[in-house]
Amino acid sequence: MAAETKQGLSPQDLPPPGLAVRRLVHPWRWVAGAVVIAVLALLVRAFAKGQIRWPIVGEFLAADVIVKGFGWTLLLTFAALALGILLGFVFGVMRLSANPVLRFAAWLYVWIFRGTPVLLQLLIWFNIALVFPRLYIPGLVDVKMVEVMTPLVAAVLGLGMNEGSYLTEAVRGGILSVDRGQVEAAHTLGMTPGQTMRRIMLPQTMRLILPVLGNSAVGMLKFTSLAATIAMPEMLNAAQRIYFINGAVIELLFVCAIWYLAGTTLLSIGQYYLERHFGRSAGGRA
């Protein structure tokens, strides 16, 4: 102990308080930053000099067909997402039912729709008339299936039912992670199972699964491009129809990329505000 003191500063040599403190410099942070900026600059230069006719991108960005296509993309996104959320909650609650038959049915739904590719599901819905030529519900409907199963309907069903299978698992997990004491408190206040589910469980589940729903919405916006394969006139399909004629393939694909980015950015902003609304009980704000 005494020897160590001798090697270092002795108490008499200690500097006075209030000395300036020099922070450690991190030179490698500057180097890493410079490298990344250089790579980005090269990328920008490559695209600026590459064989892309940027004026055509600008020209088609606000073209009627593209904007209308994006409108269909949005409509499809919201319709399929709404169906997915509805199915997710219905089957998610069924997964936890006391009734084994309901539990099995929900499990079966998830098994099938999560276990097959969504593109395949779209194609099957679009061609469902091969299995059921007529849609016949006694006393209600009797029409040809091809008239019902338009590209839009097939796309909403395909994307929505696929999404629902993922959300079923998210809802089930959300309900399970709400504290059991919340249910007991509701029961001792005399709430029926339905009231407990609607007023106590689902609002709290909602907060827990909101990040999942946000990802779903962003994913759904992009997955709608798959509907181009079943002749749904959404944005990618519209772009393809244009470049088959004018040959500006990459320009029109870039136009789509810009619109998709705009859409996903807006959805992310919306997600932020929704999470803040549902998270208000957990935060520090009164």
Binding site: G181, E184, A185, T188, G190, A282, G284
Partner: protein
């Protein structure tokens, strides 16, 4: 004195382990009964069997003229449909060890949820009564706060107001101060003393011997799923006849 609660031969086992070995208990209107006993003695389970959060394996609880959870038809107890069970449960105020406030409702939102949804009161009427109750437990100033912003003692006082809002015939307390920091226990016990003084019928599962001595009309001590000692608080606490009860009280009073 008129009997408010009676349990008749309540038995309950969890995976083969018998937690309650046939409990007979009686509480009169206006009476405060404290249930003491070591951890795992079955006192919380007994409380949960009274309001049917747990279904007894045999036996039953009778409260205010009704058998909880069953209907007597002929020689059998027929399980009640959920709605009628809930109507019975809403007559029994329950205060939990871990408060169980609804995390997505404000303080006043917690208090008015039951009256609005179950009793069909208007928001105005429920809020008016709810604010009176919050005032009574000293939480009126925090009516718009979220449960996550409250201390444990504050949460428990709100939970008491929430239970009282249903105008229950009997209040059940399941270790209401066991999850609290020591300096917060007093404020909750204070509210409970005021309820007792106002003539509320209370069954309190607790480790607070001091509260039992001061407030309880009667005390029962449970050990291993049986009632080993019952009687006036002063007598049971000062002079228990059962040797195991004496050991238990010696430990907690030391």
């Amino acid at each position: 004195m008129t009997v408010a609660v009676r349990t008749v031969g309540v038995r309950k086992a969890f995976s083969g382990h018998e937690v309650l070995k046939g409990i007979d208990l009686e509480v009169s209107y206006g009476e405060v009964l404290c249930i003491l006993g070591p951890s795992g003695s079955g006192k919380s389970t007994l409380l949960r069997c009274i309001n049917h959060l747990e279904m007894p394996d045999s036996g039953y609880a009778w409260v205010d003229g009704q058998i909880i959870g069953y209907e007597l038809r002929g020689k059998a107890l027929h399980e009640l449909p959920v709605r009628r069970l809930r109507a019975q449960q809403s007559q029994l105020g329950m205060v939990f060890q871990h408060f169980n406030l609804f995390a997505h409702r404000t303080v006043i939102g917690n208090v008015i949820e039951g009256p609005m949804l179950v009793r069909g009161q208007t928001r105005e009427a429920a809020t008016k009564r709810g604010m009176e109750l919050l005032d009574m437990v000293g939480m009126a100033a925090k009516a718009e706060a979220w449960p996550s912003q409250l201390s444990g003692g504050q949460k428990q006082r709100v939970a008491i107001a929430r239970a009282l809002a249903m105008e229950p015939r009997v209040m059940l307390f399941d270790e209401p101060t066991s999850a609290l920091d020591p300096e917060l226990v007093g404020e909750v016990l204070e509210v409970m003393k005021r309820l007792a003084a106002a003539g509320t019928t209370m069954i309190v599962v607790t480790h607070e011997i001091g509260f039992a001595r001061e407030v309880a009309d009667r005390v029962v001590v449970m050990i291993d799923g049986e009632i080993r000692e019952a009687g006036p608080a002063a007598q049971v606490l000062a002079n228990p006849s059962d040797p195991r009860v004496r050991t238990f009280l010696g430990r907690v009073l030391a």
